[in-house]
Amino acid sequence: MNAMEQGLQSCEGCGLLSRPPAGAHEGVCPRCDEKIHYRKPKSLEKTLAYVIAAAVCYIPANLLPVMTTITSGDRESDTIMQGVVLLWSPHGWPLSLIVLFASIMIPSAKIVALGYLLFTVRRGSLENNAQRTRLYRIVEIVGRWSMVDVFVDTFTVALIQLQPLMSVEPAIGLFFFAAVVVLTMLAVESFDPRLIWDGKVQHA
């Protein structure tokens, strides 16, 4: 039994439990004027769209250089993976691992995890519900940390501007990478974890 089955909705803003007016599905919270629904509208569709967009952006984000270092007229562009390889040294390997996790493994893990959640919810699977909910929480918490790489890059670009000698410019890959992070966060946002528990119930 759940609230939806009882024809009740809870407000996502203030948590107030309410009942939609007769003949209608959705309304506005009587207490805080937040729109309320049984479930987030078109949650699966939106999440799917964001995940696909993130997956599309993920390819150029890893193949294209994220940073261009200009030293005395010499341009050198590095992709994320080249950065990982560059940082890998007997003493620098922890840093290299951080970049590897934050920039390559977490975004891909997020996309895979969201895809898995979407797939199981669509199928109406009810197995491992608790596990899947936990997976969703982890994805939600960890996701924003991928932005670290974007921040590092922007800081580097801002700081290293020794014009004639050396300067760093952002490269096109960085924009795709930022898009991946933002899109996966949006996907997480638009996913309604309550759907995990709904099973084969028809959801709006």
Partner: protein, 526 residues
């Protein structure tokens, strides 16, 4: 149970539009378009990939080393790896898409690094900028993607007007890639490369003569090594000839075309020439129909070398080509047959004009018989007393014992005379004999006697000198200011001075009153 919730307020109804497809799908579409566009752009901007095989990977840096054409980058090395045979280095380069035209069959690549050719440096800029790969566009139409790099930059750019020629030389000397070639002391070209002839007997040096100098190269042109200084000591004095300081230090080649009445057309490209050692050899006329003769000497030929000149009245007419030793079993003597090669062109061109229908050999034979009958003999002479070098002199000795040509021998034998060395030796022996015969004892006795008399004479001389001293003293007293003579002299001089003064007064007066000569002095009353 549902009744429990009647107190729960009802939410309001807000009318809502419903699209069938959510707006959110625009995002993945935009992402896909952006990604696709980037991908297409990347593929479009990707230039052709080529591989270049180098002898060594020295100075090649994957991702850094650029391929430059005329100072502009047209590509970049993306990978440098060892060839499977571990002897070469294979570099992969990504070329600019615009550089596609470059990639034809005869395009050349080489590493530009600081190097010295002759006395000129090149590639000094790479000390700071790092090595790069130079490229020269080929002419071929055929596309190519894998190349073998040159060891050194090509000396001559493809589009330089001019022509290549081959020079044959026995020794490379100081020639090097880039060694200058001079025409009338102007630099007209460069040495491009050289290789050993397959026979191993000489080297083929490839040279490039740039336009417009290449048109002065005709089949008659002579090339010679201009490295160093040519010094000739002649009756005109010391003559020093050199091309330039550069050629003295770094070597060089010069060429010249003899001026003739009928100028010859320029020589074809890749025509072969002989590279002579110096200018005089270069312009020596080539031997025409050389004649070999045998000279048999019964004396030591130490000092005679192959190549030693054969002269006639001091003019070189041939050279020694072989020296051997022969034991004659019949007479149990050693002889030294020397083969010489005479160049008839050097001793008379007319002689070569063989009338039609006659055999030139018969003419030769007749001539040689005649001159030998007149006393022509070969003789060894010393060219230099210091080095002991010998040469063969051919001259007429009318008083020589009669001899004839020996045509049975091959080559025919010319009679010889005992050499001047023998003469010198015999006269030296004569001198030694005379020295031996001298009576040194008597000579020394005589000498002693002479010295005794000389001693006495010297005592006499000392007395004479004392007298001379006295005489000079007297003379000194004569010219003393207090001497009677000097005082008399003084008075005379004073009087002469006064006479001269009176004479001057008279002359002055006469100048003013010339009439006084006739009328006499009129006095100062007027």
């Amino acid at each position: 149970m549902p009744d429990n919730f009647t107190s729960v307020p009802e939410s309001k109804i807000v009318p809502k539009k419903r699209g069938r497809i959510s707006f959110v799908w625009v995002i993945p579409i935009v992402a896909a378009i952006a990604g696709g566009w980037i991908a297409v752009d990347k593929i479009m901007s990707e230039g052709p990939k080529i591989t270049i095989t180098f002898q060594s990977g020295d100075g090649l840096d994957a991702g850094k080393t650029k391929i430059m054409y005329d100072g502009l980058p047209v590509g970049k090395l993306t990978a440098v790896k060892m060839a499977d045979d571990h002897k070469h280095v294979i570099a992969t380069a990504e070329m600019d898409p615009k550089a596609k035209d470059f990639l034809v069959k005869d395009t050349k690549f080489w590493v530009v690094k600081p190097r010295m050719t002759g006395l000129s440096f090149s590639g000094l800029g790479t000390i700071l900028s790092g090595n790069y790969i130079g490229v020269e566009m080929g002419q071929s139409q055929e596309s190519e993607r894998s190349y073998i790099a040159l060891d050194a930059p090509p000396i001559v750019a493809h589009d330089t007007p001019g022509r290549f020629f081959m020079l044959k030389t026995a020794e490379l000397g100081s020639l090097n890639q880039g060694t200058p070639i001079y025409y009338r002391q102007l630099q007209a070209g460069e040495v491009v490369s050289w290789e050993l002839d397959p026979t191993g007997h000489f080297l083929n040096v490839k040279v490039f003569i740039q336009s417009p100098y290449d048109k002065f190269v005709t089949p008659d042109t002579r090339f010679w090594q201009a490295s160093g200084i040519d010094m000739t000591l002649s009756a005109n004095g010391l003559h020093v000839e050199t091309q330039s300081i550069m050629s003295i230090l770094a070597g060089g080649i010069a060429f010249e075309t003899p001026t003739t009445d009928s100028p010859q057309p320029p020589a074809g490209a890749n025509a072969a020439f002989t590279l002579y050692n110096d200018r005089s050899t270069a312009f020596r006329p080539p031997p025409r129909d050389p004649q070999s003769y045998l000279l048999v000497f019964n004396q030591s030929v130490r000092g005679l070398t192959v190549g030693a000149p054969v002269t006639m009245n001091g003019v070189t007419v041939g050279e020694v080509t072989a020296i051997t030793a022969e034991f004659d079993a019949k007479t149990a003597t050693f002889t030294v047959p020397v083969t010489v090669s005479l160049d008839p062109a050097r001793y008379g061109v007319k002689f070569l004009e063989v009338p039609a229908g006659e055999d030139s050999r018969a003419i030769h034979r007749k001539m040689m018989d005649t001159v030998v009958a007149k006393g022509l003999r070969a003789q060894l002479k010393t060219g230099s007393l210091i080095s002991g070098a010998l040469y063969v002199s051919v001259d007429f000795y009318p008083d020589a014992p009669p001899a004839t040509m020996d045509w049975a021998q091959n080559p025919p034998r010319v009679p010889t005379m005992p050499g001047s060395i023998e003469g010198i030796e015999s006269s030296l022996a004569g001198i030694m004999k005379k020295i031996d015969q001298m009576q040194f004892k008597e000579i020394s006795d005589d000498l002693r006697k002479t010295f005794g008399e000389l001693d006495k004479t010297l005592v006499g001389v000392r007395g004479t000198l004392t007298n001379a001293d006295l005489l000079l003293n007297n003379a000194g007293q004569l010219v003393n200011p207090n001497s009677v003579l000097m005082q008399g002299l003084d008075g005379t001089v004073q009087e002469m001075g006064e006479a001269a003064k009176a004479l001057r007064v008279l002359m002055d007066y006469l100048e003013r009153h010339p009439e006084a000569l006739i009328r006499g002095k009129t006095g100062d009353s007027k």
